[in-house]
């Protein structure tokens, strides 16, 4: 039976926990354990509330796994050292919060242009500026997508529980390697400090760094295979590949081409397309009670937890409500939202900000359903009642 079940689940495309261990764990411990399991062997960070514990845990755990922990002089140094470590052949991660993330934006752009895999954990707190240091928020969801200058696209993933924090950290490392890009894990203060049961899977799929399959004289570090947008193979420094990791616009060999419209257009379009054209492969979401739903609550992170409760209550009141949990926020899954808008009459989007992702939802819904944002500010989580009020208002 067990064998059959395991085969069935594998066929359905989900890894089955053959070997599992259940324990009570706090969010940041889940992230750090998962990072090390995913192969992270370099962490650089700068203390910042509420992300500091991730650095503290990495400082303790990494050396035991043969990994390197550095506390850098600021966040500018942290993100740039990740670029150095990643090209030295190490899977690398940093963790920060709003003010640190703002400082990292320039380095993020360099990581995007140089196609350097890395994971940035953003434990969101209330902004702008120093803001409300110890309170949760979802205020950075648009900054991670649009914050660095120029045209690019990026992957951002939002956990809503401790289990998610573990699973999605591994997903973030895998995406970073698969698409050779920085990936942002959008946590918030609540998820990072939440203590919940966690099933630690050990047979998870880990994507390894792909080494060049060609000798140095034939290898092009930024040239994808025909029909693809990303060159997965990445040499490490000192291996004889003599790479140029350019922050200037460059061709597929890495050579500076800061005055060629043709090469520039090609490179920018490819960086955009390698994420946006792969959106169907990258985007992940979960659907709850959606079979007969007339109203959908599209949520991510903390508000998802209240949304589930609100949907159950609404159903008792006779309103058929379903919940969509967006796992990936970016690239934005337009086609999923459009299909959803064709099915339901209204979409409610609770967010712990002034209403940001709701604009993307409204754009993707193309007017096929009513879209209503439910903002919650200054470190407050939505109560199920907050979401219920919105549900009732659109159900009328």
């Amino acid at each position: 039976m067990y064998f059959l079940a395991s085969c069935l689940v594998r066929i359905l495309g989900r890894s089955f926990p053959l070997k599992k261990e259940k324990k009570l764990m706090i969010g940041y411990d889940a992230v750090t354990d998962a990072a090390i399991l995913a192969g992270c062997r370099f962490f650089a960070g700068y203390p910042i509330t509420p992300a500091t514990e991730i650095a503290e845990r990495m400082a303790e755990k990494l050396p035991k796994s043969g990994g390197i922990f550095l506390q850098m002089e600021d966040e500018l140094a942290s993100i740039n050292s990740l670029i150095g470590a990643s090209w030295a052949g190490f899977k690398a991660m940093t963790a920060t919060s709003g003010p640190g993330l703002s400082l990292m934006m320039e380095g993020l752009g360099y990581a995007v242009l140089s196609e350097t895999p890395m994971v940035i954990v953003d434990v969101q707190r209330v902004g702008p500026s120093t803001g409300m240091v110890t309170y949760p928020s979802q205020g950075d969801v648009c900054q991670v997508r649009w914050g660095s200058h120029g045209d690019y696209s990026i992957i951002a993933i939002a956990p809503a529980s401790v289990q998610d924090s573990f699973d999605y950290t591994i997903m973030a490392f895998n995406y970073a390697e698969l698409y050779r890009t920085p990936v942002i894990l959008l946590m918030d203060e609540v998820i990072a400090h939440l203590r919940e049961p966690l099933i630690v899977r050990e047979d998870v799929e880990i994507v390894k760094r792909k080494r060049p399959s060609m000798p140095p004289e034939e290898f092009m570090p930024f040239m994808p295979k025909p029909g693809e947008y990303v060159q997965r193979e990445m040499p490490a420094l000192g291996e004889g590949y003599k790479v140029i990791v350019e922050s200037t616009m460059h061709d597929e060999l890495g050579y500076r081409e800061s005055e060629s419209h043709e090469v520039g257009s090609r490179t920018i379009a490819r960086l955009w397309n390698k994420i946006e054209k792969n959106v169907e492969k990258i985007a992940k979401e979960e659907f709850y009670f959606m079979e007969d739903a007339e109203i959908a609550v599209v949520s991510y992170g903390c508000p998802f937890r209240s949304a589930i409760n609100a949907a159950k209550t609404a159903r008792k009141e006779g309103i058929n409500v379903g919940v969509v949990k967006m796992i990936t926020i970016w690239p934005f899954h337009d086609s999923m939202i459009e299909k959803l808008a064709e099915k339901v009459k209204a979409i409610v989007v609770p967010e712990m900000n002034m209403s940001k992702i709701v604009r993307e939802v409204a754009r993707a819904a193309k007017g096929k359903a009513k879209v209503l944002g439910v903002p919650k500010l200054a470190g407050q989580m939505h109560t199920p009642e907050d979401i219920l009020v919105a549900i009732r208002s659109v159900a009328r």
Binding site: F42, A44, P63, K64, G66, G67, I68, L70, M72, E73, D74, L76, A77, S78, N80, S81, L82, I83, G84, A85, W87, A88, G89, F90, E106, G107, Y110, M220, M223, A236, L237, G238, G240, Y241, K242, V243, I244, V245, E246, S247, T248, D251, E252, L253, Y255, R256
Partner: protein
């Protein structure tokens, strides 16, 4: 993508160590950065070929950032001021590599000043070549933390009133363990100091006062001829031993050159990190 083809002309060292297909360089005629490129190449050539295979160059932004992009080597042409954190990570991850950083005066002392003092504090085994042309030249001639007093630049139209940094004093206080300063006039001494800096285990800084005929030549010296600049370097530089006998007034406007200090009492950073990792894993060897 079509690969570029190398030109038929090239110096034998260029053929051996440079991406000749990228030549000519972007530098203005008479620029000092070509001299620095050659000093770095000759230093590594004299230290043995296997060193070149183990060398990684990291540079920032500014004309100085272009020094290593022509080298047939692993090169990271990074962001303005951020070369040192990247180089630090590379050295810690791969201690067997010879990591060489080239920066300009604005790159190292202004926008990247914090990284410079912290890299020196750590005493990480890097060779840092600071090309000091006393000006922001790539952006067209603005005042730098190294521009002489009263000089007119595009952002000091009434004369420079900004005090200068003395990189040697700064590095000494921050904990660097090797420091030398030369001008591009002192080619042989410069090359020898770069060799020593590469052989030194610790944070080694070689400052090179370098001519920018295009902007510094006109704004600081009043004439755009690189030969005048070199003459000026020759006449105004004072060896460090001689400078000790001179008064502060006599040293005004002079460039003190030579090897200033070499310490061996501070442990190297990457070695400390790896000792810690071995201890954490319970492996004393």
């Amino acid at each position: 993508m079509v690969r570029r083809s190398p030109p038929d002309f090239a110096h034998y060292l260029a053929k051996k160590y440079m991406r000749t297909e990228m030549l000519p360089t972007a530098f203005c005629p008479g620029c000092g950065l070509g001299i620095i490129e050659r000093a770095i190449i000759m230093a590594i050539d004299e230290l043995g070929k296997d060193l070149w295979e183990r060398t990684v160059f990291v540079s920032g932004i500014g004309c100085s950032g272009w020094i290593p992009v022509y080298f047939k080597c692993d090169v990271l042409h990074t962001l303005h001021g951020r070369a040192l954190p990247i180089a630090t990570a590379i050295k810690v991850c791969r201690p067997e590599l010879n990591v060489v950083v080239t920066m300009g005066d604005g790159d190292s002392m202004a926008i990247g000043g914090n990284h410079l003092i912290h890299a020196a504090r750590r005493n990480i085994d890097l060779t840092v070549v600071v090309a000091n042309n006393m000006l922001y030249s790539l952006t067209g001639g603005q005042v730098a933390p190294t521009t002489p007093q009263n000089v007119y630049t595009n952002t000091t139209p009434y004369g420079n009133f900004e005090p200068n940094f003395n990189l040697m004093e700064l590095m000494k206080a921050a904990g660097a363990t090797y420091f030398a300063r030369w001008t591009t006039w002192h080619f042989v001494q410069l090359k020898n100091s770069i060799k020593k800096a590469m052989e030194h285990r610790g944070f080694a800084v070689v400052e090179v006062v370098s001519q920018c005929p295009t902007y510094a030549g006109r704004y600081i010296l009043g004439k755009p001829d690189p030969r005048d600049f070199m003459e000026w370097f020759k006449e105004n530089s004072v060896p460090v031993e001689k400078s000790k006998e001179m008064s502060e007034e006599e040293l005004q406007g002079k460039i003190v050159v030579g090897e200033f200090f070499k310490r061996s009492d501070r442990r190297e950073f990457a070695e400390k990190v790896h000792t810690l990792i071995r201890a954490a894993r319970g492996d004393s060897g």
